[in-house]
Symmetry: C2
Subunit: 290 residues, 2 copies
DNA sequence: GATAATATCTGACTAAAGTCAGATATCATG
DNA sequence: CATGATATCTGACTTTAGTCAGATATTATC
């Protein structure tokens, strides 16, 4: 009665019904679901036709016709892509934006209703984050980004907040050796953010020094995405970037209050070395030769 | 970036994609999705045509045609309902059972794959239970059942296990005044189980004594369904049953190690009274006049 | 600059889903 | 037992989704 497979299937059924309700609510605007989906994909910033087609898994003929029908309604305009005139980009017209925000309002109010109906808000949200991350794991992509960008700064903020929670003495960025952003940008270093459906859920920095030695910094994985192997993927990405930059030795410092991190390093070929800096927070130091 | 509505919507998107994958896997058996859904609904015990139609939200014409196509395939047989010859009941033939179990195997292996891909099994399952309960709340129905039935005994087992965990001194049913099952069956009393999509997720017993005083016993809500107001619904159902049975005074005992329970009682018109039995476990006693 | 590869579009389909107005048989009620 | 309500079925549709073989325009490659 309570075996894991049954529980997963009960979840699937519950969610299938809910998704069906969401879909039907989208039909209230006098447009087939397929067209509504394309409109929304474009509204959410997927401007290239091929990108939308892949995302929605549509046949190219069908995609083309759906685009035409939205164009006939006056909701979108298409034009050739600047770099490659075979590709087309679509954008919402003024009327399209209005229609898109009507769909947004529908989705939002449905989400709000769901939240309002339930008292366990935080527990529910945490559960949803976890499941969305687990389901979207294959869709999580690692992107090299500027550490000063919004996504990176969001991750770093969460990272600092977590350190402050987990270190007995708290954590103050200013006391730590905050890597200069320029050291985490090519050609000296790199910064990688894990994006899951538009939400940043992890990051790692590679802090170069111009020499053949570089440091791994700021490895963070959102609580909702832990246990899914994302830390390892991020570390692999950082190592790959280091190899591209001709770096021979990687170092990192960490703290024994973060046991998961130490475990990950030990399992992936890192060896403990003596302290190599005077940062007050770390008490464990690792090295890996590439 | 992290407002609750965005998080709910991210979950919705992740899940919509996953549900789509589940649906397409059902197409591998050479049958349109609609027919597959009807076959599975019947396989899961929804035998009456109208019941299946409501559950799947189908038009009666469409439903009828889907039934005919399954009949032509030799997968189901229909006959008139014993009590009302207008209604029809469908059941699987031998071939239908084979086909149904092929779909079951597909669903099971998909659920197993999902579990195998993830390391955080227990956390994921708990999150899924919570969400399934929250989504299925409107679909949770309270049914009066025999306390000796499978569902009731499952609930009671979980209830005892939880008491054992939460009482410092543990919990042994035999030391407690285990209500005789006959006292929780009409006409003396009642036993109500909350069923969510086939899974028992809560229960409550009304233990009558033949007099105008009865006791509430065994109020339990599955951890995955807490915070959704189910405890209150169960209590309301028990009270309603008590009124039907002509009971004037309800009593119950509980323990201060279960603060949620005490809070619920105080909020719903119960008043604390002196100890009225010598059961070793409870230390709080309540009464409510109907 | 010919050839292959790529991105999109068009035309001509088929299949599936959904709608709606009756038809038919049965049941409930006075 | 006539009347209205109910459950299902049939026929005649429309709409939506999906498929596939080319057509067209552009870009990449030798």
């Amino acid at each position: 009665m309570l075996d894991p497979v049954t529980r997963v299937r009960r979840f699937n059924r519950a969610v299938t019904r809910a998704v069906g309700a969401l879909d039907t609510s989208f039909l209230g605007r006098g447009r087939p679901l397929g067209a509504a989906r394309v409109l929304n994909a474009i509204g959410h910033g997927r401007s290239e036709v091929g990108e939308v087609r892949d995302y929605l898994g549509l046949d190219s003929g069908l995609m083309s016709r759906l685009l035409r029908s939205l164009e006939d309604e006056g909701l979108i305009e298409t034009s050739a892509h600047g770099d490659d005139a075979r590709r087309r980009v679509a954008k919402l017209t003024r009327a399209g934006k209005r229609e898109f925000s009507a769909y947004e309002a529908l989705s939002n109010s449905q989400a709000e209703d769901f939240l309002a109906r339930n008292t366990q808000r935080e527990a529910l949200l945490a559960a949803m984050d976890l499941i969305a991350s687990a389901l979207g794991r294959d869709a999580t992509d690692l992107r090299e980004m500027d550490p000063r960008g919004d996504e990176a700064r969001y991750c770093l903020g969460e990272y600092y907040a977590e350190l402050a929670r987990r270190f007995k003495q708290g954590f103050d960025v200013k006391l730590s050796r905050d890597p200069d952003a320029a050291d985490m940008v090519r050609p000296r270093g790199s910064f990688v953010v894990a994006m899951s459906d538009g939400l940043p859920i992890g990051c790692v920095g590679l802090k170069g020094s111009g020499s053949e030695i570089a440091e791994i910094k700021r490895l963070w994985v959102a609580p909702s995405a832990r246990g899914l192997g994302l830390g390892r993927r991020l570390m692999d990405a950082a190592e790959a970037a280091a190899r591209e930059l001709g770096i021979a030795v990687l170092r990192l410092d960490t703290n024994s209050a973060l046991p998961e991190a130490g475990q990950l390093y030990r399992r992936t070929g890192w060896t403990e070395i003596p302290r190599f800096n005077d940062d007050p927070y770390p008490d464990l130091f690792f090295e890996k030769r590439l």
